[in-house]
């Protein structure tokens, strides 16, 4: 099997619970973790005679999302009824949007957006029994607290080409939504849910293969694993000459297996028709303007600013913007940094020199992440943003060597505290100037005359062992560059 001979084509369908005060079509408060069925009313229980009324705040959030994704906002969109029977759907239909959605088109990063629409969430089913699914369970209970929670469904174009990219892009979307403040976007709580449409085709082919739909991948890791597993499965099928069957697959996180959903759960004709209980949804220029005014700086803009104003590399700027907690930590450290020091061109917006060189500071953030783990928000670590800024400033000022600073950071991660105090206590301050270093440099040259001779002759590759000797002797406190310069000087190297 050669995966390389095939190109995966992936599109995502994302459901986002909106963080409104009340439900999509009634006045019940949204809730998480409350006792079952305490936040219900005649509307969200689908009692006879009840009628839906659209939540204006949900529309506002929907428009914000559309604007943030560069979508075209429909001045007039329609709600439809999506009909199917299921115990989590009290009316026997879901109020959703169909052929005239709130938003069409748009783009986020490298992925085009197909549409964005508003709908209501289903209630939560709890199945008693081993399977945890409705088939084969002895009893099922319905908790209507979640029923009617406002949802936005975001559908992408099939622009994603790998499982890793799917995960990466979903991270960007999550950050964008989080920045907008419209949702908790927590996959483990179900406020962000992602289905994936996956197909593969021979590399270079323009035709799309048969797709399958993957459901229930309730973490970023599972999304990547599920999509990867499905790509591999489809390639195996095609390699052995078997067709891919269009079906919906359920991802089981425990086994990482994909199992087809039963056809009875699948074979739906939803019989969409315009919801006669609601009038068309009109978005006025005022509503658009109000939504636009509430959109803060989004990840793409932030990355641009990091690159343009702070001199970060494009990759790093994008990384900090996509993982907003890194960007936030970085900016806080920058803001909290102490007195001005010289930095290479690192001027603030007002032209005054910054307290700390942003590029140097930015270099230290991956170091911190490496030590605390990528799942942890650095703001939750023992390293105060100000401490990291101080450490970066000390390195820049050669008060501590880069190697020693790494040890200091390790200690800060473990114990917290002020880096200056750690440096002093542990005696890790940089060995500055020739006076402190010249003896040990001379000893290094004496210890390896052959290497010294090669360095003198201009072979700079030979300098490594000599520098290593000095660093060992000084326990990393010396500055590598300065050591190398001194060695060359002492052996009389040809420059």
């Amino acid at each position: 099997m050669s995966i390389g001979a095939y190109e995966p084509v992936i599109g995502l369908e994302i459901h986002v619970q909106l963080r409104t005060q009340t439900k999509m079509f009634c006045g019940c408060p949204l809730s998480f973790g409350d006792p079952p069925n305490v936040h219900t009313c005649s509307v969200c229980l689908g009692l006879p005679g009840s009628l839906p009324v659209v939540n204006a705040r949900a529309v506002h959030f929907g428009v914000m999302i559309g604007l943030a994704l560069g979508s075209e906002i429909a001045e007039r969109s329609l709600f439809h009824r999506k009909n199917y029977f299921y115990p989590d759907l009290p009316k026997g239909y879901q109020i959703s949007q169909y052929d005239v959605p709130l938003c069409r088109g748009g783009r986020l990063g490298e992925v085009r957006i197909h549409r964005v629409h508003l709908e209501e969430d289903a209630a939560k089913l709890n199945h008693l029994g081993e399977s945890g699914r409705i088939h084969g369970s002895d009893r099922s209970w319905v908790d209507f607290n979640r029923g009617g929670t406002p949802l936005v469904e975001i559908v992408t174009e099939p622009d994603i080409r790998s499982a890793e990219q799917a995960r990466e892009w979903l991270t960007l979307l999550r950050t964008t939504l989080k920045t907008l403040g419209v949702s908790d976007v927590d996959m483990s709580q179900g406020s962000l849910r992602c289905d994936a449409n996956v197909s593969v085709r021979p590399a270079g082919s323009a035709e799309l293969g048969t797709k399958t739909e993957l459901k229930n991948m309730n973490s970023f890791r599972f999304l990547e694993r599920g999509v990867k597993a499905e790509i591999e499965r489809q390639v195996r099928l095609l390699e052995s000459g078997e067709p891919v069957v269009q079906e919906t697959l359920h991802f089981d996180p425990a086994s990482a297996r994909l199992t087809p959903l039963r056809s009875k759960e699948e074979a739906h004709d939803y019989r969409y028709f315009p919801e006669p209980d609601l009038v068309p949804l009109v978005v006025t220029a005022e509503m658009r303007a109000a939504a636009g005014a509430e959109i803060p700086e989004l990840p793409a803009e932030r990355a641009g600013r990091f690159e343009r104003e702070l001199g970060l590399s494009a990759d790093r700027a994008r990384d900090f913007a996509r993982r907003a907690e890194l960007g936030d930590y970085f900016e806080r450290a920058l803001a909290e940094a102490g007195g001005p020091v010289a930095g290479d061109g690192a001027k603030g917006a007002d032209g005054a020199p910054r307290a700390v060189d942003p590029v140097e500071l930015a270099n230290w953030i991956p170091q911190l992440v490496e030590r605390i783990g990528s799942e942890t928000d650095p703001a939750d670590s023992k390293v105060a943003p100000r401490s990291l800024a101080t450490l970066a400033a000390m390195v820049k000022a050669k008060e501590v060597s880069r190697d020693a600073a790494r040890d200091v950071l390790t200690r800060l991660v473990q114990e917290g505290g002020d880096p200056r105090a750690v440096v002093e206590r542990e005696g890790l301050g940089a060995l500055g100037g020739e006076d402190q270093l010249v003896d040990v440099v001379d000893r290094a040259i004496a210890s390896d005359p052959a290497a010294a001779e090669q360095v003198r002759a201009g072979n700079m590759k030979a300098i490594g062992p000599l520098v290593g000797y000095v660093m060992r002797e000084t326990k990393g406190r010396a500055d590598g560059k300065e050591v190398a310069r001194l060695i060359r000087e002492r052996v009389g190297a040809k420059s």
Partner: protein, 475 residues
């Protein structure tokens, strides 16, 4: 005393209460006793006692109200004429019922109806048919047959019902009373157990036009719980017109031509009423509603389509009937719905489901919506030349029980003249125009959206001229 009392129109009874000549408790009790002794099958529930206070000082002066079963009334059975909702007592009250109670019309009882308002004879009720007080071997019309029979028989001073394709006007006609279907959106639908959401409207069934105006005045208005409701422009006036001078009445060829199947007796009464209208100063002319004759076909796609979704909630999970609780889910669904719904409801659910199915949607539901738009345009065009469109309300007088139960199409033709108006969302009123072979005939006037006050005025002038004083023989 109580005999005379029960002869009063609601407005007249209210006047006496306000004048201090009549104790509203006594009024309520007189009607309560009468309703409790109902042998027409008109009521499905009657209050067992008057409310603690009968609000004689409010605009409706404590005159008790009969309410069609499908209006939700808190703690009181609200079954929409269906066994699937047997014993269902909602936790809230429909907006219109609450408004009328606030205005001083306390709940007397709930009236029988065709199941989920699907029917034109009241024979589709899960709780037995309603008998027409004019002839107990005949139907009262439907679906608001219980409300119409109760008012006609003097079991209630007035009542409210709902009209989707004629369900207020046709039983009003067959029972010899006044029935008005307001403009779509005039009255809140919140708490009305839905049949077809884009057509359903609440309206009054009363002994005369004045009572209809009084009741309607306190029903209309925007309800924050119903997005399709609107603020009614102006107040519903008390009708006072004594003539129809300057009024132009259009008689649509399509609904009244020989092919429309209007019975001779009904036609005679209709023509006599037109002659009377001319005597009152109106100009009566033929007009065209080119697509109106297709109204019935469009209606029987749109209404069942919406109903198929509206009735999906009756699934045995949360309330109402549940058959075989231990069966698997799909079996429980099918057994519950098979046992709970009557034949006509099942027929319409299947019809509607089919009309919305993938591959058929455009041909059926889509085409029906286009016809609906055309009918609306026809009315708009007609109202540029005419103040009102007039037709017989029903092609027939009350027919015998069982006469049409085996022929759904013949039954549907009852609504031939009443269906175009709800499709266009416009108001229409039926008033008694006389008797044919001893049975009441209804005369229908339809006006532009929100023309209720003018419509009531015209109906009032005609009512005075007709002088219909027919009452079914009382026991």
């Amino acid at each position: 005393m109580s005999g005379e009392l029960l002869e009063l129109t609601a407005a007249a009874a209210g006047e006496r209460v306000r004048a201090g000549e009549l104790d509203p408790h006594e009024l309520f009790e007189a009607y309560r006793e009468r309703a409790a002794a109902d042998d027409l099958g008109a009521f499905t529930w009657v209050a067992d006692a008057p409310p603690a206070t009968v609000p004689g000082d409010r605009p409706l002066a404590g005159v008790p109200l009969a309410v069609k079963d499908l209006f939700c009334t808190e703690g009181v059975p609200s079954q929409a004429g269906s066994r699937i909702l047997e014993g269902y007592r909602p936790p809230y009250t429909a907006t219109v019922v609450a408004k009328l109670a606030d205005a001083g019309a306390p709940l007397l009882g709930k009236t029988n109806q065709d199941e989920f308002a699907m029917g034109s004879s009241n024979e589709n009720s899960g709780f037995g048919p309603v008998l027409n007080p004019w002839d107990r071997g005949r139907v009262p019309g439907g679906s608001s047959g219980g409300s119409a029979a109760a008012v006609a028989a003097g079991l209630a001073p007035w009542a409210i019902g709902t009209d989707t394709g004629g369900s207020i006007r046709q039983p009003a006609a067959l029972c010899g009373i006044v029935g008005l279907k307001p403009t779509y959106g005039a009255c809140s639908r919140y708490g009305m157990i839905a049949f077809a959401s884009s057509l359903d409207q609440a309206g009054p069934l009363t002994r005369d036009v004045t009572d209809a105006a009084l009741l309607l005045r306190h029903m209309v208005g925007h309800d924050p719980c119903d997005s399709t409701s609107v603020e009614f422009p102006g107040e519903i006036a008390t009708p006072r017109a004594e003539h129809l001078r300057g009024m132009r009445l259009g008689v649509p060829e399509e609904l009244t031509a020989a092919g429309a199947g209007v019975e001779p007796g009904v036609r005679d009464s209709f023509e006599a009423t037109l002659a009377l209208a001319e005597e009152l100063g109106a100009v009566v002319q033929q007009c065209r509603l080119p697509h109106a004759a297709h109204g019935l076909s469009a209606y029987y796609l749109i209404a069942p389509a919406e109903a198929s979704a509206n009735l999906a909630r009756f699934d045995g999970v949360r309330y109402g009937l549940r058959a075989d609780g231990d069966a698997d889910l799909i079996t429980m669904y099918s057994r519950t719905r098979a046992a709970g719904f009557g034949a006509e409801v099942k027929r319409r659910i299947m019809l509607g489901t089919y009309a919305l199915s993938s591959g058929y949607y455009e041909a059926y539901y889509g085409s029906a919506q286009k016809v609906r738009t055309k009918i609306s345009q026809d009315f708009n065009a007609a109202f540029e030349q005419f103040d009102f469109i007039v037709t017989p309300t029903s092609p027939w007088t009350a027919f015998e029980l069982g006469a049409k139960t085996d022929d759904p199409l013949a039954m549907y033709l009852n609504d031939f003249c009443t269906v175009p108006m709800p499709l266009a969302g416009i108001p229409a009123i039926s008033i008694p125009s006389g008797l044919a072979n001893g049975l009441p005939v209804g005369f229908q006037l339809a006006g532009p959206a929100f023309s209720e006050s003018r419509l009531l005025d015209a109906a009032y002038a005609l009512e005075q001229a007709i002088g219909f004083d027919g009452r079914p023989a009382r026991r």
